[in-house]
Symmetry: C2
Subunit: 444 residues, 2 copies
């Protein structure tokens, strides 16, 4: 069925060694190591690879050795592999599949990868409503090839393939032999449409603690099932994307180590540039207050402290809200309640930092009189600015994800660095305004 | 079996309405809404709630109405509910279970929640190796109560309950009637120990694309199975914890909206305080350069721009590495390869920002001569500092997670704000050192 290691090749790489070193190997060494592994292990290993790496591996094998590996895959995984393969060999690879699977794969490839249709397995256990339980069981025993995936639910379809109901397999299995399927099936089935987004599908899985969800087309015909094991990957993928956006960059398409370095620089550079241009406004703001700075250089000492405190509290708030939105815990309509919570939190946190900043200046002054005769006023200025900046940061950080969501943009773009930049500029204005108010006639 | 709405109560809340409004309802209203829902829907809804909310709901019901709900739960979920219940009613709730389940639940409660033992379901399909396939199937049909969960795999145990092998259920189902189980079982089973950490368990699921993994005790006896649907929750939970740490706070134990506000303030305040104390070093660093600042106030204009660029590039790098570590894509041994990648990226990104900063000053000066006669030197100073700060930020951000991991701390603690604080202090030192080197004799 597929390539084995030459008989005289004594030294086998164990599959664990192969797995360990895989990411470090060149394409050639991967093929070599893969061919050296005992066949059963290689099969398991192949099935556990992500689609992209399966595609690379198959593309590196001589054309004569590809068929066995292609036929090992269930239709949804074969479709993923094809989508990751270079276009010039796609036709050839499709030709290696048996006729039935090829048709299913072509149908699946029409769906976007991140939609229910792209995730689904077109093979599932189906029975007719008027079968008896005994008939259903022996029918299912004969039809095993039809449900490569899971045997968790049995779906009851009419002649037009419309979904009538569902029975957990264990209920079919344990019901008295003569019972009709119709009498044990449940009719209030949770299903999804082919083009439902994968994030919405994964929320449905979690809300209802399901193991599989049927996919229905516009005419009500059942096309396949999405199973919970596909959802684990979706959840990881979406979390990774969000985390990378929160870290202030465009999400990478590939694992960190295998991302081409130029692409990575481009995806990081884009955001960094936007942030840099935004941050240039700080120089403009400072220039505006240059006269005050020249008169009271001591004020500049606290600039990084004050603006970073605003940035940090803002990044906490935005991260919390972004994640709560992604998990469906917080929706658009909750903005007022979130704002109220964050006002309280911002006031408490700002007061704390303000008090500490105040004490710090008073105490330092007692040791080395660095801040001059007006140190008390300076301490008040710093404390009041900290309170203002932290409250502003907290509010901006928590409300920005709502604004982005409202504009149909991804809330995760309200990343820590983005919020920090916004708060840096505002923080400077707050600080110098407070300074002018409190220090006029003395230092300024 | 359980409380229904009073017969004369006409207005039913639909279960979707209940789900929608749940997080907004008081405890009393929750109980009321729950009781008003049609029983079948209420059952589904109850099963889909997180353990903590199940516990709250059961605790709010009158003691006479609790039994039905407790008995609805499989042992692993009942154990989770009990762990979330107030200690004073735990004994009572345990007493409501049937004897067999109570024993299983007590055994499960001995495990930590985040270990394989705490995740596992003690009920699974088990057969003896010498049964024929037909015997196995009719045995399984009679024993359905024994595997509430999944019927994906059938486990083959000896008389001491030691695991001999496993057969995918569909293979038992499709094999010829007289075949012995022993002859179709696979013996190279991937299993976990009771105290394996849930993150390691979830990686195993993803590496091997499994749907269930058996849990084995120190004597090799099989205790239960962990199924992939439990892993979805684990993956979400771990991602949420990491995201919150990356945002610069201690991870919350509860969803954002239901976290008590004092606890939330405490968890955010702790980190904010640490960052604030760290950031105070910026004031110290600035005081050290106060003389230079007084002589060349123009230098202060670029302080926020320069230090934030370092912080932003550092936060990108640390986020990427933290996530790659969590997904197992990058291990401790990869630090040198990561460092090489980040040196390249940092140099490219730093040169880009440096060039833009340089142009910005030259162009601005052409419009309004803000920066004085030495603007060219100032432009060079800013550009060189940007390159240095971005490279330092990128390196610090990418290597800090390795250092934390090496010290057996959580790499996710190298959050964006943490890296930014570190880079702010260093950034100031870099900036003023470059300034002294390039501007001595002219501005300084």
């Amino acid at each position: 069925m597929s390539p084995r290691a030459p008989e005289n090749f004594e030294e086998h790489l164990s599959i664990e060694e192969l797995r360990e070193t895989w990411s470090l190997l060149s394409e050639e060494d991967r093929v070599l190591g893969f061919k050296m592994a005992p066949y059963e292990d290689a099969e398991d290993f192949f099935l556990s690879l992500p689609a992209r790496e399966q595609a690379e591996l198959v593309a590196s094998l001589p054309p004569g050795e590809r068929r066995g590996w292609m036929r090992l895959l269930p239709p949804d995984d074969a479709a993923d592999l094809l989508q990751e393969s270079p276009p010039r060999i796609r036709e050839d690879l499709l030709g290696l599949l048996d006729d039935a699977t090829r048709k299913e794969v072509i149908a699946l490839m029409a769906y976007a990868e991140d939609q229910a249709g792209g995730l689904m397995d077109p093979r599932f256990a189906r029975v007719r409503p008027d079968m008896s339980v005994d008939e259903a069981i022996s029918y299912l025993r004969r039809q095993v090839r039809e449900y490569v995936g899971t045997l968790r639910y049995v779906y009851v379809l009419d002649e037009q393939q419309r979904l009538l109901g569902v029975v957990p397999f264990r209920e079919v299995f344990s019901a008295p032999s003569a019972t009709r399927v119709r009498d044990v099936m449940r009719t209030d089935v949770i299903s999804v449409t082919e083009n439902m987004d994968q994030e919405a599908v994964s929320r449905l899985f979690q809300q209802h603690s399901l193991n599989a969800i049927p996919v229905i087309d516009a005419e009500g015909r059942m096309k396949g099932i999405v199973t919970v094991d596909d959802i684990v990957d979706v959840v990881q993928e979406e979390a990774t994307e969000d985390i990378q956006k929160i870290g202030g960059m465009q999400a990478l398409d590939q694992p960190y180590m295998s991302s081409p370095i130029l692409e990575m620089i481009r995806k990081r550079g884009g955001w960094l540039l936007v942030l840099f241009l935004g941050e240039m406004l700080t120089a403009t703001a400072m220039a505006y207050f240059e006269e005050e700075i020249a008169r009271a250089v001591v004020l500049t000492l606290f600039i990084p402290l004050i603006i970073s405190s605003g940035g940090n509290s803002g990044s906490q708030a935005s991260t919390l809200v972004i994640r709560a939105m992604a998990l469906g815990e917080v929706g658009l309509r909750d903005w007022l309640r979130v704002m109220r919570r964050e006002l309280v939190a911002g006031f408490a946190l700002g007061s704390m930092l303000g008090a500490i900043g105040f004490l710090r200046i008073i105490l330092w002054q007692a040791v080395t009189p660095l801040y001059g005769p007006h140190y008390m006023r300076i301490a008040f200025t710093v404390a009041a600015s900290l309170l203002g900046v932290v409250m502003f940061g907290t509010l901006a950080g928590s409300l920005l994800p709502f604004a982005l969501r409202r504009l149909k943009l991804d809330p995760a773009s309200a990343s820590a660095p983005f919020v920090a930049t916004l708060v840096d500029v505002t923080g400077l204005v707050i600080y110098f305004s407070v300074a002018i108010a409190l220090l006029s006639g003395t230092l300024l």
